[in-house]
C-alpha cells in the first residue's frame, strides 16, 4: 500500500514547517541588511511565517481528522473542548502574575488516555474555541494552536512508555504525568515567546537583526526571554504540575471508565437462529 508512508510524511513536513516558523530567527543566512530599515520585506517576515504556520496547521488538522470521525468521538471532543474553553475563562479572570492556564490539564490527560489524534485536536480546538468566544482571535493563534496540539499529541507517547515500565495505575504514573505537564508548561511559554519576539522586538536594527548570525541571536533572545516570559512560564509549569498531581488520579479513572463506551464499534454477530435458517 503506497499510502502508508503518506501519513508519517505529512506529520514530518508539517512539524518541520512548524519548527522552521518558530526557529527561523536563529537560522537566517548571514548577509547584508543593506535594505532600508523599516523595509516592507522585513516587516512582512513574522506575519508571513505565521501564515506558513497556519497552512501547516491546516494540513495537520486535516490529516489527524482523518476521513471521518466517529460520531461518539465528535461529541466527546466537543463537550471536552467546551469544558476546557470554559476553564480558560478562569485564566483570563485571575488577576496577578499571568501564565497559569488550567487548559493543559485536560489536554495532557485526554491525549494520554484517548490517543494522539484526540489529544492533538483537543489542544488545537481548545485554543481555537476559547479564542472565538473571547474575541481573542489574532495572529498569535496559529502558533498557540500548533503548540497546544503538540502537547496533546506528545502525551500519547507516554502511554506505551508507562505501560512498558509497568507503571500504569501506580502512583508514579501521576508523578510522571505531572512532570510532563510542567515540562510543557515551560516549553509552551518558550515557544510562544519565540513567536512574539520578532513582532515586539520588531525587525529593528537592535535585538533581532535580519541575518546577524546564530550565536548573537540566541543571546539576544535569552535576554528578551529573561525579561519577559520567565516568571509567567514558571507559574504555568507549576500550575500544571499541581493540577495534575491534585486531580489527575480521579480524572484518569473517569476518563478510563468511559473509554470503552466511546470507542466501541458495533460488529453484528450472526444470530444462531439465522444461521440455522440458512442451513436448514
Amino acid at each position: 500500500m503506497k499510502s502508508r508512508w503518506l501519513s508519517p510524511l505529512i506529520y514530518l513536513v508539517c512539524s518541520l514547517v512548524g519548527i522552521v516558523s518558530l526557529l527561523y530567527p536563529f537560522f537566517l543566512p548571514q548577509g547584508t541588511t543593506g535594505a532600508q530599515p523599516g523595509l516592507q520585506r522585513s516587516a512582512d517576515m513574522p506575519l508571513m511565517l505565521t501564515v506558513l504556520l497556519g497552512l501547516a496547521l491546516l494540513v495537520l488538522v486535516y490529516e489527524v481528522q482523518g476521513q471521518a470521525m466517529n460520531t461518539k468521538l465528535i461529541a466527546l471532543l466537543g463537550v471536552l473542548v467546551a469544558i476546557n474553553a470554559a476553564l480558560r475563562f478562569l485564566e483570563v479572570a485571575i488577576p496577578g502574575p499571568g501564565g497559569f492556564s488550567p487548559v493543559f490539564f485536560l489536554i495532557v490527560l485526554t491525549g494520554y488516555v484517548y490517543g494522539a489524534r484526540f489529544g492533538f485536536l483537543m489542544g488545537v480546538l481548545t485554543l481555537l474555541v476559547s479564542a472565538i468566544l473571547t474575541g481573542g482571535v489574532g495572529p498569535w493563534l496559529p502558533s498557540q494552536m500548533f503548540t497546544a496540539g503538540w502537547v496533546g499529541m506528545s502525551a500519547a507517547i507516554l502511554r506505551p512508555l508507562l505501560l512498558g515500565l509497568h507503571l500504569k495505575g501506580q502512583g508514579e504514573e501521576i508523578w510522571i504525568l505531572a512532570g510532563f505537564g510542567a515540562f510543557w508548561g515551560m516549553m509552551y511559554g518558550v515557544i510562544m515567546n519565540l513567536w512574539t519576539w520578532p513582532f515586539i522586538a520588531g525587525p529593528a536594527d537592535q535585538y533581532w537583526e535580519y541575518g546577524v548570525g546564530i550565536w548573537e541571536t540566541v543571546q539576544r533572545y535569552a535576554s528578551y526571554y529573561l525579561l519577559t516570559s520567565l516568571v509567567w512560564d514558571i507559574v504555568r509549569a507549576s500550575g500544571n504540575f499541581l493540577l495534575i498531581l491534585g486531580f489527575g488520579m480521579p480524572a484518569l479513572r473517569t476518563l478510563r471508565r468511559f473509554k470503552q463506551r466511546f470507542t466501541f464499534i458495533y460488529k453484528p454477530t450472526p444470530s444462531p437462529v439465522a444461521q440455522s435458517n440458512l442451513s436448514g
Binding site: 543566512p29 516592507q40 469544558i83 485536536l121 468566544l133
Partner: protein
Amino acid sequence: MSTQLHTWTWLTWLAATLVAISVTRNLFYLTLILLCLLVVYSFIEDANQRGAYPFSLLRFGILVSVLSMLFNMLISHFGETVFLTLPEEWPLIGGPYTLEALVYGLTNGLVLFGILIAFTDFNQAMPVRMLIRLIPRAFFPVAVVISIAVTFVPTTIRQFYQIKEAQMLRGQRMKSLRDWLPLVMPLLVGGLERALQLSEAMTARGFASAAPKGGNTAHRLAMVVSMLWVMAGWVVSTRAGWETLGLGLILAGALALLAALWWAGRQVPRTNYLKEKLRTGDAIVLMGIVVIGLALYFPFEWIDRSSLYYSVYPLLQWPDFDPWIGTALLGLGLPAYVIGLRKR
C-alpha cells in the same frame, strides 16, 4: 441578528487592514489607521452585544504600547537624541537612553495594537455561527466539534455554578487545592455523560460517521506537495535578490494547498442553506479597499510612496505625509459609515 456586511467583505477588510499595517512604519499613517479601526469598533459595539466577556480594549492597547516603548528604550541604545544616561557598566540597561528608541518602541506598540483591534473588530462583527460556517467543508467533522463546543460552553458554566452551590451546602469550603475536586469531577463526568447522550441524539438524526466514497490519498499527497513548495519558496525568498521569486513560489504553493483543501471538501456531501446577499454597503467597503490597494501599489507618479518607509534612526524627525495615501487609508473606516447608515 443579521450581520451588517457580508462575511467575505469582512474577511477582505481584515486582510486589507493587516496589509496596511505591515506595510508602513510611518507614525502618521499608523495613527490614521488606528483611528479608523477604533471608530469601526465603536460602531460595531453599539450594534451587537457579544456576550459578557469584558475586555477593555483601549487600556490593553495603551498597556502594550507603553510596554513596548519602555522595553525598547531600556534595551536599545542607538540614536542621537539622548535625554538620559545610565552608567555603561550596568548590563543591558546601561548606556544612553534615546528619544529615537522611545519612538521606535511606540511605533511597534502601535502596530501590535492595530493588529489587535483589527481582529477584535472582525470578531465583534461576525457572530460565532458565521465564523463556523466559514470553515471549509473539508474540515466538516472538526466544524461540528467546534459547534458543539461553542453550544456547550454556556451550559458548562451554568452547571459549574450549580455544582458549586450544591457542594457548598455540604459544608465544602475552598481552602486547599483538593477542595476543588468535588467541583471539577461532577463537571467532567457530567460532560462525558452528556457527550454520550448527544452522540446518541446525533446518530438518531442521521449524522453520518461513515467515510465518504473514494479515498483521500490523492488529496493528502497534493497537500504535502504544496506544503513543500511553500517551504521551498520561503527558503528561496530569504536569499537576497531572490525575494520576488520566493514570494511568488510561496503564493503559488499556498494557492495549491487551498485548492487541494477545496478538492477534499467536495467529497463531503453537504449544502449550506444560508444565502448571504451582497448589498450596497458591501460594494462601498470593497471599493474603499480597492482604492487602498491602488494607492499602495499602483505606480501612480503623483503618489509619494517613500513616505511609507519611515525610520526613526539615526535622528528623530517628522515623518513625511502624502495626502493621497492618507485619504485612501481612511477607507478602512468605511464599515463604520455603512453600519451607521443602516442604523438610521
